[in-house]
């Protein structure tokens, strides 16, 4: 709005008002990122008496050969994309469902549907851990009474069930975000569009798929980008339910890096993994934002 008041050449290079933010971020984010790059080329174990020494790309070579790293990468992908996809679909269904009712009466229902969002991640984790208990857990009790399973299931102690079970808890906390986001996007569709589609006899599914979904596209893309990033970083839910186990069945990259850095104090190796991960995440974000612009 104020652009063009001065020719571009006369614009100052920096504004002092951004300096506090830039300064703080340079120290708490910029410096750690650079330091991570430096650490990733060092052998640095916090517990060993000898100082850090430069070892070039050896950490990265170790990483390529590390089976647990690849498993953690796969787990991260399944956990992240699986949960986001499920939560987005559920949120979409909920938003479409609630939209069909008159809104004033639905205010309380809306609020109730949002409550899982207000539960801290750690609490969600312990709550589901309690409900998943093999003996005395409510999930098994319900399934046994309904005759769906014949013996109690070890949800979190079974290598093939643990990851999906944690994902269910994750979807539970994440669905309200998509529900709210998509409800807002639905409310933003111009009335004329809906009316003219109705005149053209669009009903039910054809109304949803043909008319409404295109309007939700950018909300879905932005929302899932944000949730993918936050799931890539999710530590609390996994750590407080399974600590990455059994074995490495639910070990994602965050959990593995945390283990390496704060249980083994292998700061160098953990940093190399951090760098690889950083590149993956940035690559994903850039590709995603490109897709968003191609509307």
């Amino acid at each position: 709005m104020a652009a063009g008041r001065r020719p571009p050449g006369a614009e100052p290079w920096l504004d002092w008002m951004v300096l506090p933010t830039v300064g703080v971020l340079a120290v708490v984010v910029g410096y750690p990122v650079v330091y991570t790059l430096v650490l990733s080329a060092q052998h640095y174990n916090f517990l060993e008496p000898e100082p850090a020494r430069f070892i070039g790309a050896a950490n990265y070579a170790q990483l390529v050969a590390d089976r647990i790293f690849w498993q953690a990468l796969g787990n991260t992908a399944i956990y992240t994309f699986g949960s986001v996809l499920a939560a987005a679909l559920l949120g979409l269904v909920l938003a479409l469902l609630v939209e069909t009712y008159a809104s004033p009466r639905m205010r309380l229902v809306r609020a109730l549907l949002l409550t899982p969002w207000a539960v801290p991640f750690v609490v969600t984790a312990f709550l589901f851990r309690y409900m998943y208990l093999q003996n005395g857990g409510v999930v098994n009790a319900v399934l046994l009474h309904a005759g769906i399973v014949r013996a109690p299931v070890a949800w979190l102690n079974n290598a093939s069930l643990a990851l999906p079970s944690v994902m269910v808890a994750n979807v539970w906390t994440m669905t309200p975000f998509f529900f709210l986001l998509l409800s807002a996007a639905l409310a933003g569709i111009p009335n004329e569009v809906i009316e003219s589609a109705r005149v053209d006899r669009a009903r039910g599914m054809s109304m949803i798929v043909g008319i409404k979904l295109p309007f939700l596209r950018s909300a879905l893309l932005v929302g899932s980008l944000l949730m993918v990033i936050s799931n890539f970083n999710d530590f609390a839910k996994i750590w407080a339910t399974t600590q990455g186990g059994p074995g490495y069945a639910t070990t994602t990259l965050v959990v593995y890096v945390y283990r390496l850095a704060f249980e083994n104090f292998q700061f160098g190796y953990a940093s190399a993994m951090g760098v690889v991960w950083l590149l993956l995440l940035m690559g994903f974000a850039v590709a995603y934002l490109r897709a968003l612009r191609l509307r």
């Binding site: 104020a2 100052p12 290079w13 920096l14 008002m17 506090p20 933010t21 830039v22 703080v24 708490v28 984010v29 410096y31 750690p32 990122v33 330091y35 991570t36 650490l39 469902l97 009712y101 229902v109 109730l112 549907l113 949002l114 409550t115 899982p116 207000a118 539960v119 801290p120 991640f121 750690v122 312990f126 709550l127 309690y130 409900m131 005395g136 409510v138 539970w172 975000f177 709210l180 986001l181 950018s218 932005v222 929302g223 970083n233 609390a236 750590w239 407080a240 990259l253 965050v254 890096v257 945390y258 850095a261 704060f262 700061f267 940093s271 951090g274 991960w277 950083l278 995440l281 974000a285």
Partner: protein, 276 residues
């Protein structure tokens, strides 16, 4: 038409049950005694309702009131610090024209998307050398890494919505920019400032990895970390006590959440479309 209405009502009922059942289970369990909470055949509601679990939080071996205070203090401090530092930056990014503006805005956005764990080891060493490990101040520094970039972007969207003409008369009177920001703009976007602060507060409240990594003295822990630590100790089999602690950890976040519920989407997507 009527059949589809019934299907819709059933679907809505299922959705409500799915959303609320776990929360109900947490509350119900927090009022059960130890025996009932770990019964092999769980009871649907507390048959011998008791407040002992909540009493145990105050008088138990672990100082839960201290954990509560620690969490409230560090999260409030983070919200205040992040908003105070972010305000001038958001104002400048919204109003001022300077050549590095695009780069600064983009840099702040990227720092918001960085994986926290990448920062973990260097941040630990940074705090170690600054003698800030195991201190509330150090924890606030850690929380600021994600609170600050977020606050800048969210405040910017609120300032963008204020018509620039409102500032003109103050500008004509010769007020410096920081006074215009404090006297004219901030009062207009006060709800936005509070919303932003609440978001930062909630994000800090949810954070587990920083207190777990940076705090070594048990008495200095935050609630989420204390839940994890106590689970290996006090609450090993005491699910009633655990759920009471979980309820106490949830309440402040629940209050904060419903205070800003309306601007939730706007807040979380602030800057996501990079409208520089």
């Amino acid at each position: 038409m009527r059949a589809s209405r019934i299907v819709q009502a059933i679907a809505l009922g299922l959705a409500l049950a799915w959303s609320l059942a776990p929360i109900y289970w947490m509350l119900a369990t927090s009022f059960k005694n130890e025996l009932e909470a770990s019964a092999l055949d769980p009871t649907l509601w507390p048959h011998a309702a008791t407040l002992d679990n909540y009493r145990g939080l105050v008088g138990g071996t672990l100082p839960f009131p201290t954990f509560f205070v620690n969490t409230v203090v560090t999260c409030l401090a983070t919200a205040a610090v992040a908003v105070a530092i972010a305000l001038p930056a958001a104002y400048a990014l919204s109003r001022a024209r300077f050549r590095s503006r695009g780069a600064v805005a983009y840099g702040i956005l990227v720092s918001r998307m960085l994986p926290l764990v990448v920062l973990l080891a260097p941040l630990y060493l940074l705090l170690l050398h600054a003698h800030l490990l195991d201190s509330n101040l150090g924890l606030v520094v850690g929380f600021t890494t994600f609170g600050l970039p977020f606050a800048v972007w969210m405040l910017k969207t609120f300032i963008d919505a204020v018509p620039i003409e409102i500032e003109e008369s103050a500008r004509v009177d010769g007020y410096p920019r920081w006074q215009i920001l404090l006297r004219v703009v901030v009062p207009l976007i006060l709800p936005g400032v509070l919303t932003t602060a609440t978001f930062v507060f909630m994000d800090a409240w949810n954070n587990l990895i920083f207190p777990l990594s940076f705090m070594t003295t048990l008495e200095k822990q935050t609630l989420p970390a204390a839940l994890v630590v106590s689970f290996t100790g006090q609450f090993k089999t005491d699910w009633g006590g655990m759920m009471a602690a979980a309820t106490v950890t949830t309440l402040p976040l629940m209050v904060a959440f419903f205070a800003v519920q309306r601007s939730m989407v706007r807040g979380l997507t602030a800057g996501a479309v990079a409208g520089v």
